[in-house]
C-alpha cells in the first residue's frame, strides 16, 4: 500500500501536489466566506477556455526539441492583426471571429516559418533568443500600431486621428461570440459552452496530429535527434513544423482570448504572454523536454482555477489587487523550478 502511494506521489510530482492542495484549501476557505463558489468556478471555466490554447501551444514546441516557446508573442501579434482587420470592417459575431482566424493563421504560418529559420540556428539557446525576439517584435509593433493605416474611428485616437488606441473594445464586433454560444446555467454555474467546445476542438486536432506519421516523427526528433537522423528524418523540417504549429496555436489562442476578454490590448499588452503559458504547461507536469497534451490541459485547469479563486479569497484577508502579483510569483516560481532541475547531459 505504501509503495502504491509513493508511486502515485512520484508520478504526480511535488509541485502539482502543492498547487492542488493549495487550491483545495482556497476553495474551502471560499465556501466559508460570502463568496459564491459557483461564481468563482464560472470565472475559472472562462479563464481556462481563454488561456487553454496558449498553454497548448507549448506542446509542439517542446516535443520537437525546441523547448519552451518564450517567443509566443510572435504568434500573438499575428492574432492581433487578424482581430484588428475584422474590427476595422466592423464584422460581427462568427463572421468577425472567422475572418480574424482566417487572416491570423496564414500570417502565423509565415511568421512561424521565419522564426523557425532563426531558432534552428541557435541550438541550445532557443529559450533566451525566443524571449528577446518576442520582446523585440512587440516593441517593433508598437511603432507599427502608431503608424498603422487603420481608419475605423472606434479604433484610432480621437484627437490627431493617426495610430491605434491602447485598448480597443470588442463589444460591438465579435466579443463574447464563443463564450455566449450555447451558454447555459446549472446550479448557479455559468458554462461558456462555445468557448469550451472550441478549446476541445483545438485540443483534439493537436492530439490527432501526434498520432499521425508526421506527429510521430516530430516527437522522435525531440526525444532523440540522433536516432531521428539515423532514421532518415530531417531535424530542421520537424523542428520548423513544431515551431510553426506553436505559432499558429498562439495566434488562434489570441483570437480566442480576445473574444473572451472583450478587449484588444495593444502596445505592451502582449509582452509577457509567454510566461503564464510556460508556467501553465509546467504546472501540468511537463518538463523542458517532454510535454503531452494532457499536461497542457491539466496545467491550465490548475493554474487558472488557482488564480481565479485566489484573488477574491485573498481580498478578504489582505486589501488590494493581488492577482497580478500572484500570477507573477507563481508563474516565475514554477519556471525557475523547471529550469533548475537536472536534465540528462548538461552542456559543458
Amino acid at each position: 500500500m505504501k509503495e502504491r502511494l509513493t508511486a502515485i506521489y512520484h508520478t504526480i510530482g511535488l509541485p502539482r501536489l502543492i498547487i492542488a492542495g493549495f487550491l483545495l484549501l482556497l476553495l474551502i476557505i471560499a465556501s466559508g466566506t460570502e463568496l459564491s463558489v459557483a461564481g468563482l468556478l464560472s470565472d475559472a471555466l472562462v479563464r481556462i477556455g481563454q488561456n487553454g490554447i496558449y498553454v497548448l501551444a507549448m506542446v509542439p514546441s517542446i516535443q520537437a526539441g525546441v523547448g519552451l516557446n518564450f517567443g509566443l508573442p510572435v504568434g500573438v501579434i499575428c492574432g492581433i492583426v487578424g482581430a484588428l482587420v475584422a474590427m476595422e470592417f466592423n464584422l460581427i459575431g462568427f463572421t468577425g471571429l472567422l475572418t480574424a482566424l482566417l487572416l491570423a493563421i496564414p500570417l502565423a504560418v509565415g511568421a512561424g516559418f521565419l522564426y523557425a529559420l532563426l531558432l534552428n540556428r541557435v541550438a541550445g539557446q532557443e529559450m533566451m533568443v525566443g524571449t528577446y525576439v518576442g520582446f523585440s517584435v512587440v516593441a517593433g509593433m508598437c511603432i507599427f500600431w502608431l503608424l498603422a493605416p487603420f481608419r475605423n474611428p472606434a479604433m484610432i485616437w480621437p484627437v490627431g486621428g493617426v495610430g491605434l488606441r491602447t485598448t480597443l473594445t470588442l463589444a460591438d464586433t465579435f466579443g463574447g461570440t464563443l463564450n455566449d454560444f450555447l451558454q447555459f446555467e446549472i446550479f448557479g454555474l455559468t458554462v461558456p459552452t462555445g468557448l469550451l467546445l472550441f478549446y476541445a476542438l483545438i485540443v483534439t486536432l493537436v492530439w490527432l496530429f501526434f498520432k499521425t506519421k508526421a506527429g510521430v516523427a516530430l516527437e522522435v526528433v525531440g526525444r532523440n535527434p540522433r536516432f531521428a537522423a539515423a532514421s532518415g528524418l530531417s531535424l530542421t523540417k520537424y523542428r520548423t513544423l513544431g515551431i510553426i504549429m506553436s505559432t499558429v496555436l498562439a495566434a488562434i489562442g489570441y483570437v480566442t482570448y480576445a473574444q473572451s476578454f472583450g478587449f484588444v490590448q495593444l502596445y505592451n499588452g502582449p509582452l509577457m504572454t509567454a510566461f503564464p503559458a510556460v508556467a501553465g504547461v509546467l504546472i501540468g507536469g511537463a518538463s523542458t523536454r517532454e510535454a503531452k497534451v494532457s499536461h497542457a490541459i491539466l496545467g491550465v485547469i490548475l493554474f487558472q482555477t488557482l488564480l481565479t479563486v485566489a484573488m477574491p479569497v485573498t481580498n478578504q484577508l489582505i486589501e488590494g489587487n493581488i492577482s497580478e502579483i500572484a500570477r507573477v510569483i507563481v508563474s516565475n516560481g514554477m519556471i525557475l523550478y523547471a529550469l533548475t532541475r537536472a536534465t540528462g547531459g548538461e552542456q559543458a
Binding site: V220, R226, G232, L233
Partner: protein, 528 residues
C-alpha cells in the same frame, strides 16, 4: 637496486559484475620508459584511471590490490592526490584552455603570486599574478623539451602537434614530478612530430623522470621502450625488457585468443563473387573514428567482418555510408551511385544500420519497445500506418508486430508497451536488431552488437545475425572483438589509422591479425 617509482600489485577491478582487470602487476623503475600495450578493452585505461584516482573508479566501488610509490603504500581518491604525490598525466583529450597563453596553461591553478594590500585583508586568492616569474618557469620547461614556442603565445593559434608538448611542459613544471603517464600521445601527431616527441621522451627519462607510455604503435614501442608490459582481457600476459621481444611477438601476445572452432557457424549458403557494395576513396569525419580513404568491395551474401583497434576508423565506415557523419568519396550500391550524407537515400536503397551507440543512436530510451521496433520502417517505408491521407499510426498492427519479435527474439520484458530504458543491455540490443529486421534490408551494417551485454545474449545476437544472412542479407559486421569476427565472418578487413590495412581469412594466425592491427602491411605479415 633502487626502489621502483611505481609498483602496482594484484590490481583487480570490476564494473557492475564485469571483471575488467584481474590481478595485474606493473613495476616502473626510476628513469625508465615503460610501454603498456594492449587492444582496447584490455584494461589499460582502467589501470591508469586507478593510478590517477579518477572518479570513475572511486565512484564505482574502488579497486582491489595495492599501489606503492617509492616503496610507500598509497591510495589515491582524487586526481589532486595523485598529482601531489608526483604523478602527472597527459590524457588523450586535450586539457588546454584555448583563450589562455602557453604560460597560463602551464601554470593553470598553480600560478605564482605576489602579495598586495588587498590580499592581506581578504585572503591569498587576491594576490597578484607574478607573470614574469611564471613566464620564466614556463620557458625553462619548454626548453627542457627542446620547444621554441613563445611562452606568451595564445594556445588557440598553435598547431595541433605543439599542443601535446605544452601539456607535457605543464607536467614537468610540477617540481615533484616523478612519473609521467602518457595515454596514446602520438595518435594525433604527424610522423616527424612523433619522432621529435620520442626524442623528448628519451631526454626526460634520462633526466630521471619515469615514463609510462601507452601506445599501440609497435614501432614506437621498439624505438623507445626500456620495458614492455602487455595486457589482454584485463590480465597481464607478459612483461620484460624490450630486448626480449620482437614486434611479431608483441602482436601475437596482444590478440591471441583461442578461437572456439566449434562455434564457427556452419554456412549453408556460399557468398557469391558479385560485388554489391563498391567503396572508393571513402573519407569519413567521425570524431575519434576518422576514415582517411578506404577502398573496399563487399560481396553479395557475405558476412564481411571489419576489425581494428578503437579509434582507427572501423566504426566510421557504416556511419559514413549511412549518412550520419560527413563523408566524401564514392559508393556504388548494386551498380548505382549511392549519394553520401543522405540517410534517407541509404534507407530507401535497402540499407539498414544497427549502430554501435545503442543508447545514443539505436534507441529512443523513453519510448516503448513497440515504437522503437517500427519507427524507422514507418518513417522511411510508410508502413504501420492506417490507409488514408492523414497517415494515422496503426497501433494495433504495431503491437502485433512487436509481439512477434518479442517472441522470436526472446526479448525479456513485461510487454510491447514497456519503456526500453528499463530493459537489460542484451534485450535492448535485440530491440535494435528487431528494428533492423523490420526494415527488411538487403544489406545490413551491424556495429559492436555485443558490447556490454551478457554472454548468453551475446551468442543469441550473433545467431540472429547469421540467421539474417542465411535469408540472403549481406552483412557488414564491425567489431572490436576479434574472436567474434573470426567466428562468423567470411573474411575480415582490418582498418588501421583510417585506412584499410588488409584482408585476412578468419582462420589466419593470431600473429597476422596483431601485426595488421599494429600497422604492419600484409607483405610484412607474410614475410614473418
Amino acid at each position: 637496486m633502487s626502489v621502483p617509482v611505481l609498483e602496482m600489485r594484484g590490481i583487480s577491478k570490476a564494473f557492475f559484475g564485469t571483471q575488467v582487470l584481474k590481478d595485474v602487476n606493473l613495476t616502473v623503475e626510476r628513469g625508465q620508459i615503460h610501454c603498456l600495450v594492449g587492444e582496447n578493452g584490455a584494461g589499460k585505461s582502467t589501470l591508469m584511471n586507478i593510478l590517477f584516482g579518477m572518479p570513475v573508479i572511486t565512484n564505482t566501488g574502488g579497486y582491489e590490490g595495492d599501489l606503492f610509490i617509492n616503496g610507500e603504500k598509497k591510495s589515491f581518491d582524487s586526481p589532486r592526490a595523485a598529482i601531489e604525490t608526483g604523478i602527472g598525466m597527459v590524457h588523450q583529450e586535450f586539457m588546454l584552455l584555448p583563450g589562455f597563453t602557453v604560460t597560463e596553461n602551464i601554470k593553470l591553478n598553480r600560478e605564482l603570486t605576489k602579495a598586495n594590500p588587498f590580499s592581506a585583508i581578504f585572503g591569498e586568492k587576491l594576490e597578484t599574478l607574478n607573470r614574469a616569474q611564471m613566464a620564466k618557469d614556463a620557458r625553462t620547461a619548454l626548453d627542457r623539451l627542446g620547444m621554441t614556442i613563445d611562452e606568451w603565445a595564445p594556445v588557440a593559434g598553435l598547431p595541433v602537434g605543439y599542443l601535446q608538448f605544452v601539456e607535457i611542459a605543464r607536467e614537468i613544471d610540477k617540481e615533484n614530478l616523478q612519473l609521467l603517464v602518457l595515454d596514446e600521445p602520438t595518435a594525433v601527431l604527424t610522423e616527424s612530430e612523433a619522432e621529435q616527441f620520442l626524442e623528448v621522451i628519451k631526454r626526460l627519462a634520462q633526466s630521471g623522470i619515469s615514463i609510462l607510455f601507452i601506445t599501440h604503435r609497435l614501432d614506437e614501442v621498439m624505438a623507445v621502450a626500456d620495458r614492455i608490459t602487455i595486457l589482454k582481457d584485463g590480465e597481464l600476459v607478459s612483461t620484460g625488457p624490450k630486448e626480449e621481444y620482437t614486434i611479431s611477438q608483441i602482436a601475437e601476445l596482444m590478440v591471441g585468443r583461442k578461437v572456439d572452432t566449434a562455434s564457427r557457424r556452419t554456412r549453408t549458403r556460399q557468398p557469391s563473387d558479385e560485388v554489391v557494395l563498391q567503396i572508393r576513396g571513402l573519407r569519413v569525419n567521425m570524431p575519434g573514428e576518422t576514415l582517411r580513404g578506404i577502398d573496399l568491395d563487399v560481396r553479395k551474401g557475405e558476412i564481411l567482418g571489419l576489425g581494428g583497434l578503437a579509434g582507427h576508423g572501423k566504426v566510421g565506415l557504416a556511419n559514413g555510408i549511412m549518412g550520419l557523419y560527413p563523408s566524401q568519396g564514392q559508393v556504388l550500391y548494386e551498380g548505382r551511385e549511392l549519394p553520401l550524407n543522405n540517410t534517407q537515400a541509404a534507407l530507401k536503397a535497402g540499407l539498414a544500420f544497427v549502430s554501435e551507440d545503442r543508447r545514443g543512436v539505436g534507441l529512443v530510451l523513453e519510448d516503448t519497445i513497440a515504437n522503437n521496433i517500427v519507427l524507422t520502417s514507418m518513417q522511411s517505408q510508410d508502413r504501420f500506418l492506417k490507409p488514408g491521407f492523414l497517415k494515422l499510426k496503426d497501433e494495433k498492427k504495431i503491437l502485433e508486430h512487436a509481439r512477434e519479435f518479442i517472441d522470436k527474439f526472446d526479448i525479456r520484458c513485461t510487454g510491447p508497451d514497456q519503456i526500453v530504458r528499463r530493459l537489460s543491455g542484451g534485450n535492448q540490443q535485440k530491440v535494435c536488431l528487431a528494428r533492423a529486421f523490420t526494415q527488411q534490408p538487403k544489406l545490413l551494417f551491424v556495429s559492436e552488437p555485443t558490447r556490454g551485454i551478457d554472454v548468453g545474449a551475446k551468442s543469441r545476437v550473433l545467431e540472429l545475425i547469421v540467421e539474417l544472412n542465411e535469408m540472403g542479407v549481406t552483412v557488414v559486421f564491425t567489431s572490436s572483438e576479434l574472436a567474434e569476427l573470426r567466428s562468423i565472418a567470411d573474411r575480415i578487413a582490418i582498418v588501421y589509422e583510417g585506412r584499410l590495412a588488409g584482408f585476412l581469412p578468419p582462420d589466419a594466425p593470431d600473429v597476422a591479425f596483431g601485426l595488421l592491427m599494429a600497422g604492419k602491411s600484409l607483405e610484412e605479415v607474410a614475410a614473418r
